[in-house]
Assembly symmetry: C2
Homo-oligomer: 397 residues x 2
């Protein structure tokens, strides 16, 4: 049995458009138990620096507004706790008599939570660690998809759909570099609003399939000869056959975070490098590269309503489950067996060890190596996640 | 008097999210006169290549869908007609018995139209040339603002508003490079959804004020010391005190179009260069640059409803005016004397010579050199143009 209802919530890793939905879902549910709710500023970093926000007293109206706001309302971090860090966390947890800790985050944050969970278990401090999934990369194992992905996918799909009409107007080669370190799910979403064969993206390159420059150029040429234009969706995480990142091959000085991740976003270098290759080797006119960057995870006003709802509900689900069970867990969305017309999901519970720090990639039937593009299966899988259609479009040329 | 109702419509330059609204406005209005409506493919280029689309017969439903679709539905061009080009145009105009030509475009397209208008006048071919303004740059003289700008401004404002929350979550320096060759109007729109002093963009750099690297770095440092983060909106067209583009100083090989414009978009080089300067000289952590690129003019689902309406109506206005007058003209939006609470515009007519090829820049009270940011006057001017508010946001840190 627990001795109190003091709970701690934090948010970690790259924020999303709906990460605050999960936060608010937990807060509303926990308030029913009169829990004292500590919000840690900037993830685990706020614990060791004793920086907390009292989430027990915010008005209902304010909480609803926060839920709709992108970014991590409590702030985020890329800190990875080591033994010393865990000891500092423990000191504060004891001081505040906290026995439950909700961490909303992706692969790395779930790994931080696993470390803390194993540490407290080892030293016999009773702490229930609860992981709430979020990542625009959609790369958490044991999950059909992750909250945050649907909204980012919607942004990417809307962007490429607009680009399709723009490049039809002034033809050329267009490269859109999409976020995704290891998994191609988000890059694949560039095709979600594609209507016909001649629509872009005509080619999609993801980290799961090794990138070969000659093959890349040959395929662009073929599409260009056919349609007079070529639109490409390219993952920032594309790698050569030796699993070396293309970005790493072209940038001299790389920046890494504490989880060992190299900085891929916030620079246009991959797009510019690929552009130069196309210009110099294929001599095609009007080659343009855009790196989609941070707006993918925070653009105001293009959150998917399905994603918002699920992010909120998984928070509520986790809070309810936590109040009936004492073990640590990772809340999840059960993998759909098939992608039927009626979209329905079910929440589930995984052990922290099953999920933490692991990466799901886009395998199986979601990508067609022959067409170098996403499959109908992927469309059926991902289309419901971006919510309802925005506008109907039409082309006459 | 005209001998017939044969009209020609074309679209030129960089497309916008609402350029097809103007097209459809003209078509609906001209249909009332039973005009035969030729749509030229890819601007003036379609005339000399005899590539036309019959716009007289498209269904009302299709036309309404086209109006909502970004990109130039007829295709666009950057061609600038010379004497030989004009002779080829003339041949086709005579063949098709066309006496009226609507050209929807910005500075360069209006200049193409002026050239054609002067040519036909000189050789005594009766052609009414009608310019319909469009440009996301908002830099046409004699116009309060231009159709296309409001939607692009809305996209930029939504993007920076989201970025503000993202960078609050994971602090650092963020540079957003915004389209705008000569005028800072679009870059300035990054501030339209800013609510308080601490919100980004904290600094805005526009082409109208010369860019000095030392001053730039000093100001970033000051903001960073104050807020622990710094968000910057930077125009792709920033120039040094000798009016030399910063981009031109860092790119070895530049690409120019037939109007003499250097390629600024579709590359991340300016953002990457400025990032490197900040990293190496200020030693600040987490410096990220995104180049907003082509989505600014075509992102699906973030068109401003005011902009859509005005783009449509200016097409209707021009068609009505043309049917009562024989002289060439440029349709326009009369400059508002003051920016009162009730937003109201009035269409007007300018001579082609007054508008063609000229560039309006952001001068006067719209920018504050001391704060290096936009003024309240600019906000009052531009806020109505992006239409109604999307969502309400809230921050707790």
């Amino acid at each position: 049995m627990r001795s109190n209802n003091n709970i701690l919530i934090a948010q970690g890793g790259g924020p999303t458009s709906v990460i605050n939905q999960s936060l608010v879902g937990i807060v509303f549910e926990e308030r029913k138990n009169n829990s004292k709710i500590f919000g840690s500023r900037n993830g685990v970093n706020g614990i060791i620096n004793n920086k907390f926000i009292d989430l027990s007293k915010l008005s209902k109206k304010d909480l609803n507004t926060i839920a709709n706001t992108p970014g991590a309302a409590l702030g985020s971090t890329r800190d990875k706790p080591d033994e010393k860090y865990c000891l500092e966390i423990l000191k504060i947890l004891k001081e505040k008599k906290i026995e439950r800790f909700y961490y909303i985050g992706g692969n790395d944050s779930s790994d931080s939570l696993r470390i803390i969970s194993e540490f407290t278990k080892r030293i016999n401090y009773k702490l229930q660690c609860i992981h709430i999934p979020k990542t625009i990369d959609n790369d958490l194992v044991k999950n059909d998809h992750t909250p945050g992905f649907g909204s980012a996918a919607k942004y990417v799909a809307q962007l490429f759909s607009g680009i399709n009409f723009d490049i039809k107007s002034l033809p050329g080669v267009y490269l859109g570099i999409v976020m995704g370190r290891h998994a191609g799910f988000l890059t694949a979403s560039a095709s979600l609003l594609r209507k016909k064969e001649s629509d872009g993206p005509h080619l999609t390159f993801i980290p799961e399939h090794s990138f070969d420059m000659n093959d890349f150029l040959k395929k662009i040429k073929k599409v260009y000869n056919r349609y007079g234009r070529c639109i490409l969706a390219i993952s920032e995480g594309i790698q050569d056959k030796n699993k070396k990142l293309i970005t790493q091959k072209i940038i001299k000085k790389s920046e890494y975070d504490s989880h060992g991740n190299i900085q891929l976003s916030g620079t246009g270098s991959l797009g510019d490098f690929l552009s130069e290759q196309i210009k110099s080797k294929l001599k095609l006119p009007r080659v343009r590269a855009d790196t989609l960057g941070y707006p993918q995870r925070c653009f105001i006003g293009s959150a998917s309503e399905i994603d918002q709802k699920e992010a909120y509900q998984i928070g509520v689900f986790a809070a309810r489950f936590s109040n009936k069970n004492n073990d640590s867990f990772s809340a999840g969305i059960l993998e759909r067996k098939k992608f039927s017309k009626i979209y329905k999901i079910q929440f589930t519970v995984n052990s922290l060890g099953e999920v933490a720090g692991k990466t799901k990639t886009m395998t199986g039937n979601f990508y067609n190596k022959t067409t170098n593009n996403v499959s109908k299966d992927y469309i059926n899988y991902a289309l419901p996640l971006i919510g309802k259609k925005i506008i109907t479009t039409k082309s006459i040329i």
